[in-house]
């Protein structure tokens, strides 16, 4: 009824290949962008910004990075947090050691360093696939935090390897309120999401999916398998590296290398799986689900226990929160194994016909 493209004719291939070929989608996207850039900064509290929205955006970026590698190029990786660590530590060192270094350039160089490390750990993907490759990327996951802790130079010889991110200053303007940090992170994430979308609908994106779906056929078409996989590792690690830098600089302020542990890698992998493997939108949905749902549940459970005068102990509510959260993940995966993005896609297909499904 409302979501219908009747009467919207496409007369050029350019129009058919546009980002949002359907008018309703374009308006919805504009609305979301307007809310994110204007509405949220105006009406959210500092708590919402620092505790919810900034981490949501940072994790979206990281799961976007992992989704490029795992969802599009089909290479399973458990080293996401390690690549984030590389990005964070590298950005910190570029700021520390090069006077007058613009912070945005440090983020980019941090991502670039992560990309190089990603290529290095991607080399085994020539010979091994699937679970075995995942185990090979575990090497990165254990080696990199260990190296950063062990070699004091990386953290400027601080105690226990903690790095304290420098303040964010852009063009002499210090960004220190949560609102400013949120806007900075939002700009970076929105831009990088757009670039990722462009990549996956261009030649390299098709090459990634070709390697994922049928590598022998891809090779016969003339796609260089190793190069395609390594580009996927590089781009993915670049995204994770920038996410790591933002994690340190805009979210936590100071991080220790052990914070980038296997737990974090798994968290991001779950975001990709729950959100939708091989979908840009899915990365955001998954990150939203995993970062925001526990807090939503917490609020609901607390409100519920007050309403019914249950007087639950704090330990019990947090336990229940975990239980419900786990059940929800399983529920969504049973309902739609391809993730929330696919669920949304099916909803859209249904909506096109609703209410007359003939």
């Amino acid at each position: 009824m409302f979501y219908r493209e009747a009467g919207q004719f496409k007369t050029t291939y350019a129009a058919d290949q546009a980002l949002f070929p359907i008018r309703q989608d374009r308006y919805a996207m504009l609305a979301i962008v307007a809310i994110a850039f204007v509405g949220i900064p105006l009406f959210s509290s500092n708590y919402w910004l620092t505790a919810l929205l900034i981490p949501f955006l940072v994790f979206s970026l990281a799961s976007l990075g992992l989704n490029i590698l795992t969802g599009y190029a089909g290479q399973l990786s458990l080293g996401t947090a390690a690549f984030m660590a590389v990005g964070a530590v590298a950005a910190y060192n570029f700021q520390l050691r090069i006077p007058g270094m613009p912070i945005l350039l440090s983020f980019v160089l941090g991502g670039g360093t992560a990309a190089l490390v990603g290529i290095l750990f991607g080399l085994p993907s020539l010979r091994i696939k699937g679970f075995y490759l995942a185990v090979a990327t575990l090497a990165a996951q254990f080696f990199i935090p260990w190296l950063v802790t062990k070699v004091g130079w990386f953290s400027n010889y601080s105690a226990s390897g903690v790095i304290t991110a420098q303040p964010i200053v852009i063009f002499g303007q210090a960004l220190d309120t949560p609102r400013e940090k949120y806007l900075l992170v939002l700009c970076i994430v929105a831009l990088m999401a757009l670039l990722a979308k462009n990549l996956v609908r261009s030649r390299i994106g098709r090459a990634w999916m070709a390697v994922r779906d049928m590598d022998v056929a891809a090779e016969v078409i003339g796609i260089r398998i190793l190069r395609t996989k390594l580009i996927a590792f590089a781009v993915s690690s670049f995204y994770c590296g920038v996410a790591g830098a933002l994690y340190a600089f805009a979210y936590l302020g100071s991080v220790e290398p052990d914070g980038f542990n296997l737990d974090l890698s798994f968290r991001i992998l779950f975001m990709v799986i729950v959100g939708g493997v091989g979908s840009i939108l899915g990365s955001f949905l998954g990150a939203a689900f995993i970062t925001l749902m526990p807090i939503l549940l917490d609020v609901l459970l607390t409100a519920g226990s007050h309403a019914f005068n249950l007087n639950l102990e704090p330990g019990v509510t947090s336990m229940m929160q975990l239980l419900v959260f786990g059940a929800l993940i399983i529920f969504f995966l049973i309902v739609e194994p391809h993730g929330l993005a696919r669920l949304w896609q099916i909803t859209k297909e249904k909506l096109r016909l609703w209410p007359f499904p003939y």
Binding site: T12, Y13, A14, Q17, L195, N198, L199, R201, S202, R203, I204, G205, R206, A207, M209, A210, R212, D213, M214, V216, A217, A218, E219, V220, I221, G222, I223, R224, I231, V235, G278
Partner: protein
Amino acid sequence: MSPPAGHVMLSVDNIALSFGGVRALSDVSFDVREGEIRAIIGPNGAGKSSMLNVINGVYHPQQGDVSFRGEMRRRMDPHRAAAQGIARTFQNIALFKGMTVLDNIMTGRNLKMRCNLLEQAIYIGRNRREEIAHREKVEEIIDFLQIEHIRKTPVGRLPYGLQKRVELARALAAEPTLLLLDEPMAGMNVEEKQDMCRFILDVNDEFGTTIVLIEHDMGVVMDICDRIVVLDYGRKIGDGTPDEIRSNKVVIDAYLGVSH
């Protein structure tokens, strides 16, 4: 159909290929002339698919040479074969299941695209022009093979016959000079076979593409092919026009059989 007068485009000489102790091909030689439709036939396990894999560089023969358009090569990798204009389809459909028909065929034009990673990330400008130019080419092929109605469908959802056709479209998208078809009509019903025959003949006719195909349906092979190679246990036991093959005693014993 008269044998074409074109000169030799591809010749394989004394090819020997073995996997461990198993000899897949021994001392096989034949040539393919420009513009012809050449069939490779033979019983199961005769080494037909291995031969195609040698031609486009997936397998490396221990012995022998392949020369394509005057260029001799010992070790070939699939990427170079593709760059030289050799495309192929597979016996078991090897489409990219998660992608739409359109994206599958667009992937076939991968080697013809020039934009670098940065240009692709920015998209507008050169990359968009390139995407649209290639889209136009792909649409011509879609039109040619009559698959307009399914262009936005993920290939995993298509029936078998259409998947075969999409795979042919993907191979054609590379604008090959030599097209290798591994059992293009396997598992099809009579009508689908007729359609596929028509497409193969049209490709040969309109684009001038030289075609090497493997097929088990002798009716089809005898009707559409200019010359036939017969393999048995990795050896060549016959080579010639359909009429010559039909009357070849060795081929009849090994493969064709006689009606009782």
